[in-house]
């Protein structure tokens, strides 16, 4: 039987766990990302490859060390580099003497038969209906995880005793590794939500609100973004993450496979600034930035890995969005050399600036009111 592994990306591992457990696939979750993971990736991947590729390589090597022989990942057909990750990674592992199979979950245009064959070789002799049920359950888990995260963002910014939310979330991530099956995961999520809701919050404060946009991996993977939601939340900022695992699976895997209509409000919002899809998540970045401004957010943070092509285009457009819609934007570029201290300092300075800006605006509003 194959021993399947996959790259880390935020809550993806919990979702995949739910899927594989329901299908009785033997799998290995890559050890949590550490400095070693990154070092392995940096050592063996091309120097100027983007960070997600490097961390993926580290994940794969560490999973192979634990006995994995098959790698499952998603694909794409350009224009961004992600569509060619599997090929570059295959070559890297080959040169290292690791002879592993790659299963890229993509619909080779029109060739549904081939796609099904690939899936069967992983799940064995299960009916497609069983597979579909498994996928459905896993998607439910992913969406529930998104919701849990969102709740934690709201509570963390308002909790009276700092650190409560972090503690409960930490406990959750610890426990979720131990439970089996989608049902149990969902139950644990529900319980955790209850615990979060029981945290005493300060109802008088209206926290600053910051939207996070950018390249999906750096937005979603806490190891890559130094747990930016916690950094901000601990400063009393309410975060919204424009990209999440759940809606990513819905949009890019399920609707794509079924050829369903996609629901993309950001496309319209991006239009005056970026007319077309240019790969990666640039259109989301620009569109969501516009929407955050319209929804009255106090600021936007763009995250992306060094040399990320679509986000570089987005970055050159964002200053105009920022001026037009009067919303401050901070761009943070991450690579293997990024130090946490400097990164934090920049975020803190940005939040300070937003805070002062808000106070000033409130003062102006008051003045106008009293002037009437």
């Amino acid at each position: 039987m194959r021993r399947v592994t996959f790259p880390h990306m935020g809550n993806l591992c919990i979702t995949v766990k739910a899927l594989f457990e329901s299908l009785d696939v033997e799998f290995i979750i890559p050890p949590a990302c550490t400095k070693r993971t990154l070092e392995l990736g940096t050592k063996y991947a091309p120097e100027l490859a983007c960070l997600p590729l490097k961390i993926n390589v580290g994940n794969f090597i560490e999973s192979i060390e634990k006995g994995a022989d098959t790698i499952v990942m998603t694909g794409g057909c350009g224009p961004c580099r992600f569509g060619y990750y599997s090929e570059v990674q295959r070559e890297i592992l080959k040169d290292l003497g690791h002879d592993v199979d790659f299963f890229v979950l993509e619909l080779p245009k029109g060739n549904v038969g081939e796609f099904i064959k690939r899936i069967k070789s992983i799940v064995g002799n299960k009916s497609l209906l069983t597979v579909a049920r498994g996928v459905k359950k896993a998607t439910k888990v992913a969406l529930a995880l998104d919701e849990l995260d969102r709740l934690s963002f709201r509570i963390r910014a308002r909790e009276k005793i700092k650190g409560k939310t972090n503690w409960i979330m930490k406990k959750f991530h610890h426990q979720v590794q131990k439970v089996k099956s989608a049902e149990e995961i969902l139950m644990l999520i529900e319980n955790t939500k209850k615990e979060l809701k029981a945290i005493e919050i300060d109802t008088k404060v209206t926290p600053l609100r910051i939207g996070i946009v950018g390249e999906i991996y750096t937005v979603i993977e806490p190891f890559a973004n130094f747990r930016i939601e916690e950094i901000l939340g601990d400063m009393g900022v309410e975060v919204d993450r424009s990209l999440n695992i759940g809606n990513w699976i819905m949009e890019h895997v399920i609707k794509y496979a079924l050829g369903m209509n996609k629901n993309r409000p950001y496309e319209k919002a991006a239009k005056p600034y970026l007319k077309t899809m240019i790969g990666g998540h640039a259109q989301e970045t620009v569109g969501n930035c516009v929407m955050y401004a319209q929804q009255g957010y106090d600021g936007v943070i763009q995250l992306y890995p060094f040399t990320c092509m679509p986000e570089i285009v987005a970055e050159s457009i964002l200053p105009t969005v920022s001026t037009d819609l009067d919303i401050p934007v901070l761009t943070l570029i991450i690579d293997e050399m990024t130090g946490e201290a400097g990164y934090r300092t920049r975020i803190e300075a940005f939040v300070d600036m937003l805070m002062r800006r808000k106070e000033r605006n409130v003062a102006v509003d008051k003045y106008i009111l009293s002037g009437n």
Binding site: C77, Y84, E91, T276, T307, V313, A314
Partner: protein, 329 residues
């Protein structure tokens, strides 16, 4: 006085200029080309572009600035895709926006999209859209389009017959070696190889030493295609495919003494392509491979030394191999 259309002498100028020029001239426009790259042009580009962008895109910004006050329109098409199922690079997809939001007070930019990714798309449609900026006479546009296609065909034919884009477009003269002692393949994007300033005129440097140089443009397209198609997965970047396919073509040839791959720092496409090329060449052949990364800070002296060292290594190796053969022969 006729309307002036500005074309930046950068990026795919080296690939498509004859076509654009003919098209606009046939429509009765005056084509204004930006000046050959200079330090000022490059610096202007660097100043007006995000730091993270690759050198060719920064340089493109500089060329647009060079045209800013000299043209009534600037031509920056959105080159999303030039072949079925393929793309060029995300930065080409977003180029008009990148430039438009980075440089203030530009004359109107013609940013018509060319997207041939879908099998049903028709190239003429984009040309008609471009033409309509200047005339509503579709017969005229159609005629200009046909002339443009002819010019492009002729250009490509001359290249396949051995002329380099810089000879055809820039009037650059090269001394061709009488008796070449080495044959080197120079792999890189057209805008890196044929911009004399950016490449630090590496072509002349090699040729002056009596080295025969082969560039991807001179290889047969069908062969490039065939080699690239041997990858596990379709290579979806058109020019990435050219560089990869060209390098793989060299694999089975016995007459190549070395490969120099020029890549711009921060080029996302080449970060992958150069790595794939290098791995294949090292794994399957003994051809020396040298990756030269250039950016706006590259000094000519440093680059020269590194190229010299590479060539010396090849010559030294050859000498040793020859003496080995004679020793055993």
């Amino acid at each position: 006085m006729s309307v002036k259309i500005g074309i930046p002498r950068a990026l795919l100028y080296y690939e498509y200029y004859p076509m654009w020029k003919t098209f606009f001239q046939e429509l009765g426009l005056e084509v204004v080309l930006s000046d050959p790259t200079t330090k000022t042009i490059l610096n202007d580009g660097v100043k007006h572009c995000v730091d993270e962008a690759c050198l060719p895109v920064k340089l493109f910004h500089g060329h647009v600035i060079n045209l800013k006050n000299r043209a009534d329109y600037i031509f920056i098409p959105k080159l999303t895709s030039i072949a079925r199922g393929e793309y060029i690079c995300p930065k080409f997809c977003g180029l008009p926006e990148m430039v438009g939001f980075s440089i203030k007070d530009l004359p109107p930019v013609i940013d018509v999209e060319i997207n041939l990714r879908n099998p049903k798309s028709v190239l003429y449609k984009s040309f008609e859209q471009i033409g309509r900026y200047f005339t509503q006479d579709t017969r005229l546009i159609k005629a200009a389009f046909n002339k443009a296609m002819e010019a492009q065909k002729y250009y490509l034919k001359s290249i396949k017959q051995g002329k380099l884009p810089s000879e055809l477009l820039e009037n650059q003269k090269f001394v061709s070696p009488v008796k070449a002692d080495l044959r080197i393949a120079l792999i890189g994007h057209v805008y890196n190889l044929y911009d004399k300033y950016i490449s630090m005129d590496i072509l002349s440097k090699l040729k002056k030493q009596g080295i025969e140089v082969i560039t991807p443009e001179q290889l047969e397209d069908a062969k490039i295609e065939e080699q690239a198609n041997r990858m596990n997965k379709k290579m979806f970047w058109s020019f990435g495919k050219r560089l990869l396919g060209a390098t793989l073509c060299l694999k089975d040839r016995k007459d190549i003494d070395g490969i120099i791959f020029i890549m711009s720092f921060g080029c996302g496409v080449d970060a992958f392509i150069s790595d794939l090329c290098e791995r294949r060449i090292r794994r399957e052949t003994g051809i020396p491979f040298f990756l030269l990364t250039i950016d706006e800070h590259s000094g000519e002296a440093g680059v020269n030394t590194r190229i010299e060292a590479f060539l010396d290594m090849i010559r030294w190796r050859r000498k040793n191999e020859e003496s080995n053969i004679s020793a055993y022969g």
